[in-house]
């Protein structure tokens, strides 16, 4: 069999696996939702590409030619950042599983390069638009234009493969992936921080001034731009080709290392016997008594050991605080008495619940996967099981609110005990509604989730996302209404009355839905278990 046939077979098997899974999975909306989301996303980038195809004819291509090195630099940055953010998203192939077959590393590397083109598809759309625009404007040599674009794409593809494989191996290290991703996501806040903070603006200005000295023409993006506009001499061409060669070697080396070094499943090497954490955990859960205490302990441990939970948990009190406090009026005017500022911790807490939604509320059995069937042969009622899962969620929600309060206080932004107290009360009431919705969705639309994957990829993403963004605000509307009413009215008695009504309503709703969700889980147990034992196919990382 030729490597061409093998590449075709590898791609086909994965496409078929994904197709069958999407087709048969009722949860998540299946093919239609996935196709619609893809059309929206790539349609957006395609529209930008089209714009670039039209602009040179409208305004002339000279201005774009001048801006080309900068545009290429942006494209290169985006292209290299995307694989890091989407490292474990969707249906990326796990090449290590193909080592059992007589497929050469070079063949697998070819597939890997194809995938890296795929992860930069947005940028390819823009580049295609730019190329078409320049080509139709007619001010450049078509061969130079095409060569410049092709070399630029090759370079990005190889560097992307190198970075991705290197970072993927880094991510196999315990805890490192969360740290890297939190830092990366916080980095994305830079533009917003620049708008709000004068100090940061000054730092950025200094950095930009210093970067003037960097020889942009020596960067691959600058060299490729020179080729495109026909200004590149032999020296520049050799430099660019050499860079591509080095990038290719680097990519192959990193890829080879990734597929030959088998990473073991994440495992803790800490002592299991009687750690302080264990003692604290037992103290926290002891008041409930078994079996609920045992279930809560199991949940708290399992969640904490799942990177896919830890990441949004960390993001809640890092990204959440830094993203929202400026908007709520702190960095700009710390003394501001704007009403949103008074409830900042409350709003950030509710926002952090949104981040935690997929793992803490909407898919509570996802990490259990096939093991969820054990719940049906333990002599424990399903109401108690759901209650225990909810108590574990409350434990982490409480921690989250406290961390948000403490972090906000550290940065001198906010942090009165009154604000934290309000956040705890409002978050507590909000939890009643979120758990009510979450219990039902968790038993009705369970989806197997890999706790090692840090993204929300996988089937069922569509419905779950829709539920998250539509049901969450809806579920939280009663408590938000109380907060708004309290701010608008000075009547303490009316506020307390509102809080009482919303709390009572939440408790009633929770009790009713808990019983109902447990009944549904028991009634649909065959479907429930069958959904949780599904995976994404022989090559997918899920």
């Amino acid at each position: 069999m030729t490597s061409g046939h093998q590449i075709k077979a590898l791609v086909q098997v994965q496409l078929r696996s994904v197709w069958h899974l999407l087709r048969t999975s009722k949860a998540g909306g299946g093919v239609r939702v996935s196709v619609a989301l893809a059309l929206l996303w790539y349609g957006f980038w395609g529209a930008i590409g089209l714009l670039f195809a039209v602009i040179p004819n409208l305004i002339g291509s000279e201005d774009l030619e001048t801006a080309l090195p900068g545009m290429f630099l942006f494209i290169m940055g985006y292209w290299q950042l995307t694989p890091l953010l989407t490292l474990s998203l969707g249906v990326s192939l796990d090449m290590r599983r193909t080592r059992v077959y007589p497929v050469s590393t070079a063949t697998l590397f070819t597939v890997e390069c194809g995938l890296r083109l795929g992860t930069g598809a947005e940028m390819l759309l823009i580049l295609a638009g730019l190329w078409a625009g320049f080509a139709t404007a007619g001010s450049m040599s078509l061969s130079a234009l095409t060569a410049g674009f092709a070399l630029f794409i090759l370079f990005n593809m190889f560097i992307s493969a190198a970075i991705r494989n290197f970072v993927e191996r880094l991510f196999r290290q315990r805890h490192l992936r969360e740290v890297v991703v939190v830092v990366m996501v916080c980095f994305l806040l830079a533009p917003q921080a620049l708008i709000w903070s004068q100090t940061l603006r000054q730092i950025a200005r200094d950095v930009l001034l210093a970067s003037r000295d960097i020889p942009h023409r020596a960067l691959p993006s600058g060299l490729a731009a020179q080729v495109v506009v026909g200004e590149a001499g032999a020296q520049q061409m050799i430099a660019l080709v050499a860079m591509i060669g080095i990038a290719a070697l680097l990519a192959y080396w990193q890829f080879h290392s990734s597929i030959t070094r088998l990473g073991g499943p994440s495992a803790s090497r800490r002592s299991a016997a009687g750690t302080i954490g264990d003692k604290v955990l037992r103290a926290v859960t002891s008041w409930t008594g078994d079996p609920i205490a045992a279930l809560v302990e199991k949940e708290i441990r399992s969640l904490w050991r799942s990177p896919r939970f830890r990441l949004p948990f960390f993001m809640g009190f890092t990204f959440g605080v830094f993203a929202w406090l400026p908007i709520l009026g702190f960095l700009n005017e710390p003394e501001s008495a704007h009403w949103t500022a008074n409830h900042a911790i409350t709003f950030i807490s509710l926002y952090s619940f949104l981040l935690l939604g997929p793992v803490m509320f909407l898919n509570r059995f996802g990490f259990d996967r096939a093991a969820a069937q054990a719940y049906f042969w333990y002599p424990v009622s399903l109401e108690r099981l759901l209650l225990a899962k909810n108590l574990a969620a409350c434990f982490y929600a409480l921690l989250q609110v406290l961390f948000i309060g403490v972090i906000s206080g550290w940065f001198g932004m906010i942090g009165t005990s009154l604000a934290i107290g309000e956040a705890l009360i409002i978050a507590g009431i909000g939890m009643l509604y979120l758990l009510s919705v979450g219990n039902y969705i968790s038993v009705r639309f369970p989806i197997a989730s890999n706790p090692d994957r840090i993204s929300r990829g996988g089937t069922g993403h569509g419905i779950r996302s829709a539920a998250q963004f539509l049901l969450f605000p809806l579920a939280l509307s009663p408590v938000l209404a109380v907060v708004a009413a309290a701010e608008l009215s000075d009547n303490l008695a009316a506020t307390m009355g509102g809080v009482f009504v919303v709390t009572a309503g939440g408790i009633l709703l929770y009790i009713v839905t808990l019983t109902n969700a447990a009944r549904t889980m028991g009634r649909t147990r065959e479907h429930f278990v069958s959904q949780l034992v599904q995976s994404e196919g022989p090559l997918a990382t899920e």
Binding site: S271, A294, W377
Partner: protein
């Protein structure tokens, strides 16, 4: 009420039935998994439940554990009907499923303690028994490793340890030796034999007929969701025909291997 002997670890009456299944049927869409299956498993027996792939063995066990609900038919464990009395029955059974149904993010000892507490053991006792079982199954060197890091054989040993922790009177074991090395398998077999000696019932599925022949005192062979033969090993395995011969004759369909030109 469950017979007290079934929950307090005392030997059950050998003349009674641990499992009684009558005309059990279960369909999954167009597929008939169980087609009027009837079976009786005496208390205190080591019962082998055999059949080719897709014969309905796992579906039967899933009906016994309450995971599946039959379309028609009757299932009783220690005289208690399932699903009506499922909660009481669950207390008396220990399950080793065909897949590794373990909570990956726990350590071995944490898992055993968790399962013990699920079956009503006090925390300290569950922990103490868990430690002893970890040692018995030679998993005590892995106390700090998450189950996700266990090999297939270790997972099977841990699953059996979990099934033992509450000292049940009935074990439902689906391919318990699959993927286990010979030393580990011997250990597991010895423990199961001890359980039968104390009066517990073992209901075992396995594709390894030699194992079944050596361990079990009674056997049922099923095919297409029906029992095709049931009896003691002494009755079914003779000098002229071993259990394997009988199995192939009954469920092999007399089909000869196809000859492929290129093979």
């Amino acid at each position: 009420m469950l017979p007290s002997s079934a929950t307090n670890g005392q030997p059950t009456d050998p003349s009674s039935e641990a499992i009684r299944i009558e005309s059990l049927s279960k369909r999954f869409g167009e597929t008939v998994a169980l087609d009027g299956l009837s079976l009786s498993v005496p208390s205190g027996s080591f019962f082998g439940f055999l059949g080719p792939n897709g014969a309905g063995k796992t579906t039967t066990i899933q009906n016994l554990t309450g995971l599946l609900e039959a379309d028609t038919g009757k299932v009783e464990v220690f005289g208690l009907p399932i699903p009506e009395q499922a909660h009481a029955v669950k207390q008396a059974i220990g399950v080793v499923p065909d897949e590794s149904v373990l909570f990956d993010r726990l350590r071995g000892l944490e898992f055993l303690e968790f399962v013990g507490r699920m079956y009503g053991l006090e925390g300290a006792m569950a922990l103490s028994r868990g430690r002893e079982l970890m040692e018995l199954f030679e998993l005590d060197t892995e106390t700090s490793t998450l189950i996700a890091g266990y090999s297939k054989g270790m997972r099977k040993r841990l699953a059996l340890a979990a099934a033992l922790i509450h000292r049940p009177q009935l074990f439902l074991l689906d391919e318990p030796f699959e993927g286990v090395d010979p030393v580990g398998a011997r250990l597991m077999k010895d423990i199961l034999v001890q359980q039968v000696e104390r009066g517990a019932t073992v209901f075992l599925t396995s594709h390894v007929l030699e194992v079944v022949e050596r361990l079990c005192d009674r056997v049922a062979i099923i095919d297409h969701g029906r029992v095709v033969v049931e009896g003691s090993i002494a009755e079914l395995s003779t000098v002229e025909e071993t259990l394997e011969d009988l199995f192939v004759r009954l469920v092999g369909g007399g089909r000869e291997a196809l000859q492929l030109d290129w093979l």
